[in-house]
């Protein structure tokens, strides 16, 4: 009440407190996402129906050719399928690792917990390129792994895991792991530990306690963490080409190639629309499965 009377006593132009003034505070953020995300996305949608001929980036048209090309030419379908599979596997591995780690973190106390939190935070603070480079020195013939195993006498010849799907999944998991850990930790932190004791107390052995109590209580966290890792991996560009085999041609890489090598803007835009759809689709699916918004959970 007081607020109203006081501000009414002031000249109108000072009334940042008024509703209109407060709406003005929303404008910069809204402008940023509208001008640099929403409008370009709509522009890309329009662009994806354009044609690409000769030396020009695009020519005005209304055609489904780009989408047809995507759905009929095997290399693009393969690329789509591979990206999808890669994202699924990475998300699954991420969730397993993140679950084990977050559960451990949840059970720790005091400085011990802080140390493990700091460890979980590490991959989040390091650039994707540095992570790629680290594994790039670890996996090849003359890399740390091969040399170490050789010196330990565990192998006789140098080995290389470089440029394998395995290496790509390792790199991708590394990047999405911290998000998974923190999402799951926030779920664990909302659980009263005594329910586990209660289950045990009432006669449930360890694995039963997990299946009957802990797993159902953390299910939504698992779904959100999975979706998060999936969304991140599906649009990835750098890690799969740097660590994976040449055959691991993801959509992200395809977009880059179409844009920079072939200067085929319409087709690059069509591919980008597919990515956007996949992201929106997995967000919607997550929401259906958990009743929560992914956006509420990072």
């Amino acid at each position: 009440m007081t607020a109203v009377t006081l501000s009414e006593a002031r000249p109108a132009r000072l009334r940042v407190d008024g509703r209109l003034g407060q709406f003005a505070l929303l404008v910069p953020a809204l402008a940023l996402v509208t001008i640099f995300f929403a409008l370009p996305a709509i522009y890309m949608l329009r662009m994806s129906f354009n044609a690409h001929e000769g030396g020009q980036s695009y020519s005005e048209a209304w055609t489904f050719a780009n989408y047809l090309r995507l759905l009929t030419e095997p290399i693009y379908l393969f690329s789509l399928g591979k990206t999808f599979l890669l994202a699924l596997v990475t998300a699954a591995v991420t969730v397993v690792f993140a679950y084990i780690f977050a559960l451990y973190l949840w059970l720790q106390r005091g400085w011990h917990k802080l140390v493990f939190l700091a460890i979980a935070l590490c991959p989040l603070l390091i650039s994707e390129i540095s992570i790629i480079f680290g594994w790039w020195m670890f996996f090849p013939n003359n890399g740390v792994l091969s040399i170490t195993l050789l010196q330990l006498g565990l192998i006789e010849d140098k080995i290389s895991l470089m440029y394998t799907v395995f290496a790509a999944i390792v790199g991708l998991t590394y990047i999405s792991l911290p998000f998974g850990i923190f999402i799951l930790l926030s779920i664990f932190d909302g659980i009263d530990r005594r329910v586990l004791e209660a289950a045990s107390d009432l006669g449930a052995p360890p694995l039963k306690t997990f299946a009957e109590v802990l797993f159902p209580l953390t299910r939504s966290g698992i779904v959100v963490a999975f979706s998060q890792a999936f969304v991140w991996t599906i649009g990835t560009y750098a890690t799969p080409i740097a660590l994976g085999p040449d055959s691991l041609w993801t959509i992200g890489l395809e977009i880059y190639q179409q844009m920079n090598t072939w200067r085929d803007w319409p087709f690059a835009s069509a591919l980008a629309m597919v990515l956007i759809l996949l992201v929106l689709g997995s967000m919607a699916l997550t929401r259906r499965l958990t009743g929560r918004d992914v956006t509420h959970h990072v």
């Binding site: 005594r194 209660a198 045990s200 009432l202 006669g203 159902p216």
Partner: protein, 346 residues
């Protein structure tokens, strides 16, 4: 027949802190024993050791003669009513209560009737399909109670089950628990820091302090015949008058004082305790066997009595007096008490 529960020289430390220090007692079949003590006294740890949530460093726990101290919780015949209730939030009331029965391999045909009876016992018929989030605090504790009782464990453990509830609900539920105990005859270990709860419900009370049991006895004896100074001070309100014997018995201000004692006190410092309700003031004090002069500092109205705060040689005492007495702050008054109401500790 062996007792329902026996603890033998049980000890547990966390890092450098001794939480439970050489605790031994046994509980008879059907007995209601309360562990009472301030926070950090080791009462909860003792109970968690019995439930199997902590492992003892040394000592033994026997349930009906069988050693259980190395068994995990799910192999012990105990069931706990947790402070928070610890209901499974993703299961309905019925599923919560049936959980223990399923885990203990009770045949499916038997679960239904037992569940129904348990719901009746805690008066929650019709709440089967609710989730814990849809229940009030009191209802949650009733479900927690039913969930523990329905498996008919050798021992029911109560971990401050009422401390999160408001006063009237607390009084009501404690009556219900007591009633169920009389009706069903289970053996109970009840942990609380609320002495009235302990006094009202228990067959016996174990007063704990710093990991040790100070006294274990019937509630009346805990109050009337405290084993030591800690129990005296912890149970009920008390006034303390420090005394010294230095040639003669002296009050806090150093002046000699005359007390009617059964036998003389040895040289050194002593502390005399009286309950505020047993102290007399003014003309009522003149007939008492023991008397001392003091000055009123202030008084307050507590609803049923007036409490007079009296300074005696620098020591603050307080006296509860029914009705207003004819004096105010600054007045010199006589305090008196009967010898049988005082306790002296060295």
């Amino acid at each position: 027949m062996s007792p329902a529960l026996e603890l033998v020289h049980l000890s547990k430390r966390f890092g450098g802190v001794v939480a439970v220090d050489d605790v031994s007692f046994s509980v008879a079949q059907g007995e209601f024993l309360t562990l009472l003590g301030p926070s950090g006294s080791g009462k909860t740890t003792t109970q968690r050791l019995i439930g199997g949530f902590e492992q003892p460093d040394s000592g033994e726990i026997r349930i009906k003669g069988q050693r259980v101290d190395r068994l995990p919780p799910y192999r012990r015949d105990t069931a706990t009513v947790f402070q928070s209730g610890a209901l499974f939030p993703h299961k309905t009331v019925a599923e919560n209560i049936a959980f223990g029965l399923r885990m203990r391999g009770v045949p499916a045909g038997e679960i239904g009737p037992r569940l129904k009876r348990a719901l009746e016992v805690v008066r929650l018929g019709g709440f089967e399909d609710r989730y814990p989030a849809q229940l009030s605090g009191g209802q949650k504790q009733r479900v927690a109670l039913a969930r523990a009782l329905v498996v008919e464990p050798a021992i029911v453990l109560f971990d401050e089950p009422l401390s999160a509830l408001d006063l009237s609900l607390r009084l009501q539920l404690r009556g219900e628990i007591k009633g169920l105990h009389e009706e069903l005859g289970f053996t109970a270990i009840y942990v609380t820091h609320d002495q009235s709860e302990a006094m009202a419900m228990s067959d016996r009370v174990a007063v704990m302090n710093a990991g040790r049991i100070e006294q274990i006895d019937r509630p009346e004896n805990i109050f009337n015949r405290p084993a030591n100074e800690f129990v005296y001070v912890f149970i009920g309100e008390s006034c303390c008058l420090p005394l010294t014997v230095n040639g003669a018995l002296r009050a806090p201000d150093g002046r000699p004082i005359d007390l009617s004692l059964a036998r003389p006190l040895p040289e050194g410092a002593h502390r005399l305790y009286v309950r505020p309700k047993q102290l007399r003031i003014g003309s009522e004090a003149e007939v008492c066997e023991n008397r001392i002069l003091g000055r009123i500092t202030f008084f307050e109205y507590l609803g049923d009595v007036y409490r007079y705060h009296v300074d005696v040689g620098g020591v603050g005492l307080f006296v509860d007096h029914a009705g207003m007495a004819p004096f105010g702050p600054g007045d010199q008054v006589l305090l008196g008490w009967s010898s049988r109401d005082m306790t002296v500790f060295q």
